[in-house]
């Protein structure tokens, strides 16, 4: 790719970017949020069309105007959001869109799929319906799909964001097999240790510009971060000792069932203290979402559950079984950064000011809402957290993922909460923004708030939190001291439920 430029309106997403990839190579593409990595890759995959520049494959200049052109040139992309048809089986998804012949020979397809799987070490059941699959199975299917179509160049857009550490290892194993087979792989990821582990070469983008590329063996995390951000960034998380920890939230016998009556949380007991960060670890779907939503009053708890909130002044308030508004009216300041930012924490089509009002619009007398204070708050958040936005009147959907998260976290922290809950606060965020968020959380802890941090990156959990609660299949498997435990111990607790699920306080 030579001199590729792509603009959206007035925003230059890619500015004269040059990139090359060799046969049998794994190339990591690094960059902050909104630096144009995905845009660049989408142009290779035929989803966007470059404004100017040239793409050559095996020495021949080519034009990629549609995903079909990309297939014909043996380029396959695995997107962050899977593009599979839920009600079809794996094999049916693989041949979907290929018009080979009128009669579909599923038997032959299964043969071919099996061959691909054996060659690279995949496990795919061609007869399984997609809606029965786990996230990692779906991803595997996506990869097999593009391989079946004869892809020689594979692009993986943040493939590990949704995987557990074990699943990531499996994926890397497969990637190495493909590399040995002569395939070229481009991987986009924010996790530097993965970059170091898997790739041969690293290319860095910053604000749409191509900064350079280095062989992985000759660089380290610090140097890469500096290339990405443009200045040296400290990768240490400051962790202070909790000051005067007092019980802030006591959860007893919390039981939550989903709509179908399946138990999501089972006899959860724990206490969160003021001035500490309580980490929550677990394989995705172990009940983290339900736990936070139950505390926030958004889940129906079983009758036996009690959740007690103890304010700064030592008053105990029972908040289980209450509507969020009732909890608020009790004077409980509870901030919640949910996992689904645009689907729950914010309104995508509204501008920054209106999103700031979401929590506070009831304030003030009279039927009309006050927009002056939210506007000031929006200005403060934009300034303090360095939110990149064309203006306060921009619909929040148009901001990049990291900036959306900054707006959300900024609003929640502005409440001066006594309890702050965050779910996957840094998912999809670049390293610089992630560390900003960690610092913000640490500041809340120093202020005396109790912070509950649901995370997926074990390294971060171990560095940031004071204690880590490990959930496994909806039960509290254990609560460990983050300063003394190891990654292996937490990883073990995530996967193997102890006898009786005993809790140690």
């Amino acid at each position: 790719m030579v001199d590729i430029t792509k603009t959206f309106g007035e925003v230059v997403a890619n500015n004269k970017v040059c990139l090359d990839i060799q046969r049998g190579e794994i190339l990591s593409l690094l960059g902050e949020n909104g630096s144009g990595k995905t845009t660049l890759m989408n142009m290779l995959a035929g989803i966007y069309f470059p404004d100017s520049g040239e793409i050559t494959i095996n020495g021949k200049p080519v034009t990629i105007a549609s995903p079909k052109d990309a297939f014909d040139l043996h380029i396959g992309m695995i997107h962050q959001h899977f593009k599979l048809v839920d009600v079809l089986t794996a094999a049916e998804n693989i041949i979907l869109g290929l018009n080979e012949s009128a009669v579909v020979d599923l038997k032959r397809v299964r043969e071919a799929v099996k061959q691909i799987c054996d060659r690279y070490g995949f496990v795919v059941d061609p007869n399984k319906k997609v809606y029965d699959m786990s996230v990692s199975e779906k991803q595997t299917l996506e990869i097999v799909k593009v391989l079946y179509r004869g892809a020689d160049i594979l692009i993986l857009d943040e493939p590990t964001a949704v995987l557990t550490p074990q699943e990531t290892q499996k994926l890397f194993c497969v990637m190495r097999n493909m590399k040995d087979d002569g395939k070229s792989i481009i991987i986009i990821t924010h996790k530097l240790h993965e970059v170091m582990e898997i790739s041969d070469r690293v290319a860095v983008l910053r604000k749409g510009h191509y900064i350079g590329d280095v062989p992985t063996a000759e660089t380290d995390a610090m140097k890469l971060t500096e290339m990405m951000v443009g200045r040296a960034v400290s990768l240490d998380i400051e962790r202070t000792e909790p000051v005067n920890p007092q019980p802030r939230l006591i959860v007893k016998n919390l039981n939550v069932c989903d709509k179908d009556g399946v138990a999501r949380l089972c006899d959860v007991n724990f206490t969160a203290y003021s001035g500490e960060i309580l980490g929550v670890a677990g394989i995705s779907g172990s009940g983290q979402k339900e736990l936070l939503e139950a505390i926030a009053g958004l889940q129906n708890c079983r009758d036996c559950s009690t959740i007690e909130f103890i304010s700064d002044k030592g008053e105990t308030k029972v908040i289980s079984g209450m509507h969020p508004l009732e909890i608020r009216n009790l004077g409980v300041t509870l901030a919640f950064v949910p996992e689904d930012r645009l689907g729950m924490g914010l309104v995508g089509s509204m501008n920054l000011t209106d999103n700031m009002m979401l929590r506070s619009y009831r304030e003030g007398k009279g039927p009309f809402a006050d927009r002056k204070k939210p506007k000031k708050l929006a200005e403060t958040v934009v300034r303090d957290l360095e939110v990149v936005t064309p203006g306060l009147n921009t619909p929040i959907r148009r901001l990049s993922g990291g900036n959306v998260q900054k707006v959300l976290v900024g609003r929640e922290i502005s409440m001066q909460p006594q309890l702050l809950m965050s779910a996957y606060a840094v998912r999809g965020l670049d390293i610089n923004t992630s560390y900003n968020i960690y610092h913000l959380l640490s500041e809340q802890k120093k202020r005396g708030a109790s912070v509950i941090f649901v995370g997926e990156d074990l390294d971060v959990l171990l560095e940031l939190c004071d204690r880590i609660m490990v959930l496994c299949a909806g039960k509290v498997n254990d609560i460990v001291d983050a300063r003394t435990t190891t990654k292996d111990e937490v990883g073990y607790l995530m996967t193997y439920l102890k006898e009786g699920g005993a809790t140690r306080e």
């Binding site: 009053g297 608020r328 689907g343 509204m350 619009y361």
Partner: protein
């Protein structure tokens, strides 16, 4: 083709203007091709049909405010993404309530208090008609599109029943003009015009609805619920009560439209009192993006087209289809310009050489 990031106002207005001009040109070509009539004369006749005489102007205005009133009523429901297809029914029950007052109370209560009673009762009737589907939606998640649509048919049957009951003269199967001599429950003429009060009421409603949706706390709640129920729950908004409250307001305003139709325009009630306006208003509400001031312009355009179409049909001895065709073409171009406002289309070099 790519989505645009916000378009300056002059540009979007320009695109709409071009769309309208193109529509008129295309219509002109078709009119000439099919009928060999001078298109300019046909357009002139349309203008004459809608605004030709003083009386015609006021009839046109009466119809505009009727359509506007229903559109204003639909705005909060659609902003909440609640598919209120039931404006027809809500207008009809409001009309029934108004007519009932005129028939039963017309002799005993003077006009001014009578009008107030009619107003309130129509409002309540329409509100109830709108609330019923909302309750079912909130409680049991019943599909509101089908539910409100069904409620229309119930309202039509109800109207038929009352028409039969109030039949006058006997055997005509119509209610006839109510209180022809006493004019009890009729809108009084203000400034020498019969329809002044219609205009005042509807304009007041439109301004109030604009302020309500844009600046009030409840308007904010409606916007959040419409965008994402999960976010609404997260923000401690009681989604069910917002749905019910908003539909009560929506139905109530449609009920007021029924009151205006009966007391301020036709002075009678029939199954065609709503006359399909409840459906036309859906187009108006969506095209205006729930901005009541833009609704005024769109209602004007639609009513003008309708009046003009009737005129050319009679003047040039064309049948109704020509006029409907013109309306269709113009709407097509208006909707088309919305597309060009939201998207940018660029042509790319052919990707695979010619002849393939």
């Amino acid at each position: 083709m790519s989505k645009r990031d916000g378009v300056p106002l002059w540009k979007s207005l320009g695109i709409r203007l071009i769309g309208l001009t193109l529509a008129l040109v295309v219509c002109a070509v078709i009119i000439y091709a099919l009928t060999k009539l001078n298109p300019l004369k046909v357009y002139a006749a349309m203008v004459k049909g809608a605004f030709g005489t003083n009386k015609r102007i006021w009839v046109t205005i009466r119809d505009i405010v009727m359509l506007l009133c229903i559109s204003v009523g639909l705005a909060p429901a659609f902003k909440m993404r609640f598919w209120n297809i039931g404006a027809e029914g809500q207008v009809l029950v409001g009309g029934i309530a108004a007519a009932a007052c005129m028939i039963y109370l017309g002799k005993t209560i003077p006009t001014l208090p009578l009008l107030v009673i009619m107003f309130v009762l129509s409002l309540i009737a329409g509100g109830i008609w709108g609330t019923i589907p909302a309750v079912f939606k909130a409680r049991w998640n019943a599909n509101e599109t089908l539910f409100t649509l069904m409620m229309n048919y119930i309202a039509i049957q109800l109207t038929s029943y009352f028409v039969a009951k109030w039949e006058n003269p006997f055997g005509s199967n119509t209610v006839g003009i109510i209180n022809t001599t006493s004019k009890a429950g009729w809108f009084p003429a203000i400034g020498g015009q019969m329809y002044t009060l219609n205009v005042i009421i509807v304009l007041a409603l439109a301004v109030m609805m604009f302020l309500y949706l844009r600046y009030s706390k409840q308007g904010y709640e409606i916007a959040v619920v419409g965008e994402s129920e999960n976010t609404a729950r997260y923000a401690a908004i009681n989604v069910k009560s917002v749905v019910i409250r908003t539909m009560a307001i929506s139905g109530a305003i449609c009920g007021i439209a029924g009151f205006i139709a009966v007391a301020g325009a036709s002075h009678t009630i029939s199954t065609s009192t709503a006359g399909g306006q409840g459906f036309t208003a859906i187009i108006v509400a969506w095209l205006s993006r729930f901005n009541t001031f833009i609704m005024m312009a769109i209602s004007t355009l639609l009513v003008f087209l309708e009046k003009g179409a009737v005129e050319i049909a009679s003047q040039f001895d064309l049948n109704d289809f020509v006029s409907e065709m013109i309306t269709g073409i113009i709407l097509f171009f208006i909707l088309g310009s919305e597309f060009f406002i939201n998207y940018k289309v660029r042509f790319r070099r052919g990707k695979k050489g010619a002849g393939k």
